[in-house]
C-alpha cells in the first residue's frame, strides 16, 4: 500500500475535499467527507487510488470518492468514475470489483419487534439452516442446469420469480428491475459457470450477512410513511453478491483487458486498473459478462429473500400474510452501467463505475416506483446499525447519481482478530439483544464493529452534502453470517 501523505488535498467545503489535477491526471479528484473522516482516510492508500483513477482515458468531471472510501483493488472502495465512450472512455473491472453486483436488499414485514423477540432464537436458527452461508456454501435450491444458468445470466431476478422464489410485483423494487441488459452468456467462461452452478441462493462469507432488524429511528417522516415504515417494525436486510461466478468473471477479464491495454496503448499506474475502451471488442465483452454476473447476483438475492420469508414463517409459526414480507428496494453497490447524464448542459451516455457506491436517484424518472426518491440502503458493520436513505436531485448534478454504500473498513482483518478474537463475541452481542449465528468464529471477529468506520458519520456527510437524505435507522436483533 502506498503512503499518500504527500498528496495535496484542499478543502472545498465542510463536506468536500479536492485533489487538484497534476501529472497524468485527466481530471481532479473529489472526496466527500468531513475533517475527521479525512484524518482517517489519509495514509490509508485510498487517496492515491483516487489520483490513479483520474488517469483513466475518457474520464469525465472528477474521479470521485464517497466518505466510506478505503483502499481497494485498482479503484478505491467508495469510488465513482464516469467515462465517455465517444471520447475513448474505458471500462475497468477494477472499477467494479471482484464481487460484481454486491448489493443490499431491504424488506419490510408486518411484524413488530415484540412479536419476534420471544422467538428470536428459533427465527435465527431457521435463517441459519435455510440460507447456506460460509466458505464454499452451496445447495440452497435444487442444482440448476447449464441451460438454466444461462437464463439466470440474461434474466436475473425474473428467473428466480419464474422458479417460484418471490413474486412478479417485487421486480419493480429492484434497481434495473433486477435485470441488466446486454448480458451474453457466450462472454462467460466455463470456469465461471462451474463456480456459479451451485451458488444461487447462498450468502457466502466475508462481510456478507442476512439480518433481522428493528427500525429504531425515523428522520424523514414523509418518506417513511410512503415506504410504510415505523419505529419498532421488523425489517430484513440481505447483503451479498454474485459469489464465485462474479469473482471468476472479474479475474478472467483482468487478464483479457490487461493484454488489450498494450494493444490500445493505454498506460496506467496500477495493473489492477486494467481497462479497455467501452467501444472495443474486449470492453464490450467485459460489460456483457459483467451484466451476466449482475443478473446472477439479483437472482441470488431474490432467492435468499424467498428463503428468508420461509424462515420467518417457520420460525414464528405464522402465515405468509401475517409475516407480510415485501420488498422496499434492492440496490447494487459494485457495478458499471451505461447511463445518460447531463454534463455542461449536454446529455451524454456515460459508463458509470460504482465500486462500493450506490445509485441515488431523485424523486422522478423510471428508477424506482417510490415518489420520495430512490431508496438507498447503507449497511453498517455487524452488530451496529444500518440506514435507509433516499436519493436527491443534487446527486445527479454532483456525483453522477451516486452516494455512499457502507461503513468502510479501518482495521485489517488480522488486527480485528487480534482485538476481538479471544472474546466471546456471540455472548457479548447476545447481552445487547443481538442473536448471532456464524459459521466461522474468525469471520465474526474480523467483521466486528470497530473494524469499520461508524456508518452514521458516513451517511451524515452525504445527508449534509444534500446528495442522499436519511430516512430511517435500523438495528439488528438477529444476524446470520458465513
Amino acid at each position: 500500500m502506498s503512503k499518500d501523505e504527500w498528496i495535496d488535498v484542499r478543502k472545498v467545503n465542510d463536506q468536500l475535499f479536492e485533489i487538484p489535477r497534476t501529472g497524468g491526471m485527466r481530471v481532479p479528484g473529489r472526496i466527500y467527507c468531513d475533517e475527521r473522516l479525512m484524518g482517517e482516510i489519509r495514509g490509508e492508500g485510498g487517496l492515491q487510488q483516487v489520483r490513479n483513477v483520474a488517469h483513466l482515458p475518457g474520464i469525465v468531471g472528477y474521479s470521485l470518492a464517497m466518505p466510506d472510501i478505503h483502499w481497494g483493488y485498482g479503484f478505491p472502495i467508495g469510488g465513482v468514475a464516469a467515462t465517455d465512450p465517444e471520447e475513448g472512455g474505458v471500462v475497468s473491472p477494477g472499477g467494479v470489483g471482484y464481487d460484481i453486483n454486491c448489493g443490499v436488499r431491504l424488506c419490510a414485514t408486518r411484524l413488530s419487534a415484540e412479536d419476534v423477540h420471544p422467538k428470536i432464537e428459533s427465527v435465527v436458527g431457521r435463517f441459519f439452516s435455510n440460507i447456506p452461508c460460509g466458505v464454499g456454501s452451496e445447495g440452497a435450491i435444487p442444482r440448476v442446469s447449464i441451460k438454466e444458468l444461462e437464463k439466470v445470466m440474461t434474466t436475473g431476478a425474473e428467473w428466480a420469480v419464474s422458479r417460484g422464489y418471490g413474486r412478479r410485483e417485487q421486480l419493480e423494487f429492484i434497481e434495473e428491475r433486477g435485470r441488466l441488459g446486454g448480458g451474453d452468456p457466450s462472454d462467460v467462461s466455463a470456469r465461471a459457470r462451474e463456480r456459479g452452478l451451485e451458488q444461487i441462493g447462498t450468502l457466502g462469507s466475508g462481510n456478507h450477512f442476512a439480518e433481522i432488524d428493528r427500525i429504531v429511528e425515523i428522520y424523514h417522516p414523509a418518506a417513511a410513511a410512503e415506504f410504510g415504515l415505523e419505529v419498532g417494525q421488523v425489517a430484513i436486510l440481505i447483503h451479498t453478491g454474485s459469489r464465485g461466478f462474479g469473482y471468476q468473471i472479474c479475474d478472467d477479464y483482468l487478464k483479457v483487458l490487461g493484454r488489450a491495454m498494450q494493444r490500445y496503448g493505454i498506460q496506467l499506474p496500477d495493473r489492477q486498473l486494467a481497462c479497455a475502451p467501452v467501444e472495443s471488442p474486449e470492453g464490450r465483452a467485459y460489460l456483457s459478462a459483467m451484466a451476466c454476473a449482475a443478473n446472477f447476483a439479483w437472482a441470488n438475492r431474490q432467492t435468499i429473500m424467498h428463503l428468508a420469508e420461509r424462515s420467518l414463517i417457520e420460525g414464528l409459526g405464522l402465515t405468509p400474510r401475517d409475516v407480510g414480507l415485501r420488498l422496499i428496494y434492492d440496490v447494487c453497490h459494485n457495478v458499471a452501467k451505461l447511463e445518460d447524464h447531463e454534463v455542461d448542459g449536454k446529455l451524454r451516455r456515460l459508463c458509470v463505475h460504482r465500486k462500493g457506491a450506490t445509485r441515488a436517484h431523485p424523486p422522478r424518472g423510471q428508477s424506482s416506483p417510490w415518489n420520495v426518491g430512490q431508496p438507498v440502503i447503507v449497511p453498517g458493520d455487524m452488530g451496529s446499525e444500518s440506514y435507509l436513505c433516499v436519493g436527491t436531485e443534487k446527486s445527479l448534478t454532483e456525483t453522477f447519481g451516486s452516494t455512499c454504500h457502507g461503513a468502510g473498513r479501518v482495521l485489517s482483518r488480522t488486527a480485528a482478530k487480534a482485538k476481538f478474537g479471544r472474546r466471546d463475541l456471540v455472548r457479548e452481542l447476545a447481552e445487547e439483544g443481538i442473536t448471532v449465528m456464524a459459521k466461522g468464529r474468525g469471520t465474526l471477529a474480523e467483521e466486528m464493529r470497530g473494524a469499520y468506520k461508524e456508518v452514521s458519520r458516513v451517511v451524515d456527510v452525504m445527508d449534509r452534502a444534500g446528495i442522499s437524505r436519511k430516512v430511517a435507522r435500523l438495528k439488528p436483533i438477529g444476524v446470520i453470517k458465513g
Binding site: M1, E44, G45, H70, W71, G72, Y73, G74, I77, Y98, D99, G134, V135, G136, R191, E194, R195, G204, S205, G206, G244, Y247, Q248, C250, D251, L254, K255, G258, R259, D270, R271, Q272, A274, R409, V410, L411, S412, R413, T414, A415, G440, G442, G482
Partner: protein, 148 residues
C-alpha cells in the same frame, strides 16, 4: 535475510484483505511457496492426505500473470471440485508454460478445516523479482494480496 530458510512464506497484514510474502531459489520454488501459503489460508494442510493429484499446466505472458493463474487454479479446484490441497509441486516455470500438480483429496467436513473464503489472488502491486543472484544462489520474491 540470513535467518530465513531458502524457500517459504509469511503472512502480510493488509487493511482490506490478507497477503503472503513468498520466496524461493527459483521461480518454481517461489510458486511452490505461494501454493503452500495459499493452502494454509484455505485449510490446515497437515490434516489433508495427499492421496490424489491434479496436474496443472497453464500458459502466461509474464511471471506475474503465471503466479496469479497458478493460485487461481487452486482456488478454482477447491470451490468447484472440493479438492483440498496438502502438497504443492511445481516442475517448471518456463514462460509461457507453467507445469506442476496439487496433491490432496476431496473435502471432508469431518476431518478438514475451512479457513478463509478467498475470492481471488490479485495483481495489486504484484512483482515477481529476483532479489539476489550469485554464488549463494538466486532468490526470487513476491508479495501476493488475496481478496477475501
Amino acid at each position: 535475510m540470513p535467518d530465513e530458510p531458502m524457500t517459504g512464506w509469511t503472512l502480510v497484514d493488509h487493511t482490506a484483505d490478507i497477503g503472503l510474502r513468498v520466496w524461493g531459489g527459483t521461480p518454481a520454488e517461489l510458486f511452490e511457496s505461494a501454493g503452500r501459503g495459499l493452502a494454509h489460508l484455505m485449510t490446515d494442510p497437515r490434516l489433508v492426505r495427499p492421496s490424489e493429484s491434479r496436474e496443472i499446466v497453464l500458459d502466461a505472458r509474464d511471471l506475474e500473470e503465471a503466479l496469479i493463474s497458478w493460485l487461481q487454479e487452486m482456488i478454482y479446484r477447491f470451490e468447484v471440485e472440493r479438492f483440498v490441497p496438502a502438497e504443492i509441486e511445481v516442475d517448471e516455470v518456463r514462460l509461457p508454460r507453467v507445469a506442476g500438480r496439487i496433491r490432496g483429496e476431496a473435502f471432508d467436513p469431518a476431518r478438514h478445516e475451512t479457513r478463509l473464503d478467498i475470492k481471488a489472488a490479485t495483481y495489486h502491486a504484484l512483482e515477481v523479482l529476483r532479489t539476489a543472484t550469485g554464488e549463494g544462489g538466486d532468490r526470487w520474491e513476491a508479495v501476493v494480496i488475496f481478496d477475501i
